[in-house]
Symmetry: D2
Subunit: 329 residues, 4 copies
């Protein structure tokens, strides 16, 4: 199932080399102002073309096909479509027999019995995150004055990001990275004691983003090495402000009003120009595999805005549930 | 909302110092054999009493109130009830005014407007994980021959667990830990490309467990420091077996048939015998707070079976969706 | 699945001759006052004992096991339990081989592979509607000043209800009836254009009540015989009041602020003292079947309060979604 | 929310006079053969142009934008788009002030605060049922050999349909009708005891179709006038076949293997050429309203294929849940 959310609800569709990718966004408050140019800033942060990213470029023009009237959300579902234009009609049929290590080739084959659209990653492509970023733009409008920001802490194990990229490009290999996201001006009381804790819902959404392999809130894995008296955040004001923020703004699964803070691990892009070994499903023999084509050296560079959007989407849904976002703007 | 799952569906209820805690489990296949003694092994792994755990002990007897007939699941919902017997009628009213650092006292107050049952953590208590472990026992039966195991990698930052516990007890402080869980004999093809990736659904459930602040799959945060050619797992057989398992058994959000492997960070118990500082909500002044009572020095010791149950629950739900578990046994 | 609702969420469990029946109610606003005696009035309307109803009587005492503290809802799930006391340990094993016409015996056997608890209707028993009525009591408190009422229009095809009952008792047969429910002081704007129209959600819930076989809103089936100019309700005020109410208070699936009005058809109880014919599944021969025991001559007499509760539950859920019910009372 | 289904899941979007209407269909088994021409037969049954239907005609060409590859469903969501071409740029602004009796004008205004797209019914338009019919085509392929059929029993209160239409056209008024739908070769065991009874889920979906105001299963409202011994269907074979079918193929909310049979009441189209009275929201005075434009005299004529599609969608979802439809074709 390709759906997320309770009151702010997303459905994502499309394939990398099909006609289009897109998203249906249900639960936008009626009256919320929205125009095409609202998407530009976040879309440009996601765009490729800079050092370390793929040279494939798409115009990424959002076509708002429904749910908008006179530049305002109507309350009916928004459908936003992105046509695919810059697809190369290369030969992907090889992938059916020799699944690429680290990719979804083998798992998609198992899940869908060989009927998946395997061209360019198909429905698994990072291109589908365009819809997430679009939904994030809308979510951010809904939740104001709550704001989000995200940044890259390190790539390839180094905080000197420029140098790490140069090294990876020289080695014709790909690298991963760590991204931090913070959410400020959060109302206290979001999240549920069981099953829908704030960490649970945020992580559910964040792990929908391709290439994410870890998440930690506040002190996270470092918390496991601390004592309780070190880790506990002393409460210094009746608004819930704490001296430190080891909890990452969440206690008992519920926002405490301090900044929410989490970090995610992005694995290196599976596509690398290095030769790899895989099985040929037809011959049942292992063979060398070299992946041609246009790829991101470090996909992590393009992920911050996607993580931010994902978190904004969760906040919009939870704030609707808590009646902190109006139904009619 | 206190519900989880699509086809194997849980609803959890109860409070630490109320009459009882319990769970409703819907979607158990009819005909699945079940008797009270099936719960014993996992319940004893969760029990307190050992070094580093609270001396509060409950009989933890599961009363199966519905959905069972002649020692088989009927297909109607199971309701399993655990009565609370060993509750101390202590004075918890202090907590209303002076929220304990690191606890849900402040957030619960914000969310529920002061109407929450604050005695012993109320609905936020770790005691509610009894229901999870019960559901896990049933899930494990459903998904056989898929099996799970979990273990403690370290507590208080040390893999010498005995020594770390002794030190914490001496310091009258609490400590956290890291737990690893693996799932073996997993069918390939579980999980969805978007929103319900296997990592997404597992992490959603795992973060429902109190005190969890991080999760990573396979190489996890270490993956962020690797190159693609290091991280990619070469496929060595047409059954999808890989040489290494940096992906933790999951590619593109979908199980690849290799062992699923993830690690979680458990923060130190918030309750510590050290004196802490917090705000008095009535006087709006900070004051010293000393927490009396029975507490776990290292709650992480009791968490492995809960993590295992949580993961088994997810597997049962996904395997039902993939028609890998029968509706009638 | 035995669940209903989005923000006001029910899970029902139990069997007629098991230990108990009950319900978990999630999404009650914290602070909502609630005490055991609140249930009495509606429970007594559902009770048997009057002419035309079964002599089996249960105390129907609601045990509120969780989610209540100091006579107020805490915001955590309420679990309400009803113990079964007056069960006769009769021999129901005959039912396994000779499914009763009109009952769920055959269908339960097909669905659950023979593992269902077949004693007294098991999980299919009308006794489970106790939980619905309990949830209805809470829902009514939440939605005030919106109010509901329901009444019997006819039984056995006659509006002289007393006479119809006497005739049925004399004939040792059962009879059905038609019930009308109205909802007053409804906010306009509840319901969704597609899939969750107000009629859709109300009918979903109403058809959960055993023995209901039809529902119609406003003019209903009579509307199919009218012309548009007869059927359309002229709008006479800017608050949406209409001259007539053929639409039953719903246009385009959404409440228009007028009284919501619907009628339901209750079939005659399947249990009748008349001899019937059925198949013996073991011998594959048809045979005579005579049903002994205590039964309702006209279950419709006990249904109005259940229909009313069901409708109140839907209103509570939709009014929460529309932010017309507070999260904290 | 504009979504339906658990494992076969629909999301509908679009407006009558916007760019397009469409649907996202998730949960189609991979490998299911599908091509554009598969839709033609059912689409032509829904088309207008015949006597008693509106002269507005659209090409209704389904553009399958995703989820299809080499004429087979991939397992990823199908998005099917229908562009609007034949929209008249008439002046609908009058509707904002003078809500049409029987339409959703007033309720949409209340729900969406005046931001709804009011042109041609907007998101409430019957044009959105195109997506339902498309999903029905796919559902029917999934559930074979289960088959559906539907027919008009009467329009305007008469079974002489031709004559009733002539009369209505002459009177410049609209008329309603009654439609019967049957489902044959149904596996026994579909539906759930509580909340998701087969009647509950079918009626939920059916009431999503605009203009439906009543539904009854089997003997339906007539059952309320019968005795138990008349109504009960004697079981004549161990496959569950019954002598009569007053239950409409459903006992205890669960299919019994006999034909499922239900009838729905379709109200007369609200648009009629007769002059009506309504309030002017701006002046707060009542005034005469005459509706111009192209309308259906009897929308019921076009509804059978929509009802059939709706029922097929429910069957597909329930049969997936019961593992009676394969995940991979």
């Amino acid at each position: 199932m390709n759906a997320f959310g309770k009151l702010f609800k997303l459905n994502i569709f499309g394939e990398s080399h099909g006609t289009s990718v897109g998203i249906v966004i249900d639960g936008c408050p009626s009256g919320l102002p929205l125009k095409q140019s609202d998407f530009e800033a976040d879309f440009s942060r996601r765009k490729s073309g800079a050092k370390g990213t793929t040279p494939r470029q798409e115009p990424d023009t959002p076509r708002i096909m429904s749910g908008l009237f006179n530049d305002r959300c109507t309350g009916a579902p928004l459908m936003i479509l992105f046509e695919n234009t810059n697809t190369r009609s290369g030969d992907y049929s090889q992938l059916k027999d020799t699944p690429r290590p680290g990719h979804a080739d083998f798992t998609a084959h198992q899940k869908f019995g060989g009927y998946q659209d395997f061209r360019g990653g198909g429905h698994f492509s990072g291109r589908l995150t365009l819809g997430l970023v679009a939904a994030g733009v809308i979510a951010k409008k809904m939740i104001a004055p709550t704001t989000l920001s995200s940044s890259i802490l390190e790539v390839g194990g180094s905080s000197d990001i420029e140098a790490a990229l140069d090294r990876a490009i020289e080695n014709k290999d790909s690298i991963g990275g760590i991204i931090e996201c913070t959410i400020a001006s959060v109302p206290a009381g979001l999240g549920e004691p069981f099953f829908d804790s704030l960490e649970a819902v945020l992580s559910h959404m964040i792990f929908s983003i391709p290439a994410i392999k870890g998440i930690e809130f506040g002190a996270g894995f470092r918390a496991a090495k601390m004592t309780g008296s070190e880790h506990n955040d002393n409460i210094v004001s009746s608004d819930g402000s704490t001296e430190t923020n080891h909890a990452g703004g969440i206690n008992g699964g519920i926002s405490n009003g301090n900044e929410i803070c989490f970090r995610v691990a992005v694995k290196p892009t599976s596509s690398t120009h290095q030769t790899q070994r895989t099985i040929n499903l037809r011959s049942d023999q292992m063979e060398d595999l070299t992946i041609e084509g246009r790829h991101d050296t470090c996909i992590a560079l393009r992920v911050p805005v996607v993580v931010e959007a994902a978190a904004a989407i969760v906040m919009a849904d939870l704030m609707l549930q808590a009646q902190k976002v109006k139904r009619i703007f």
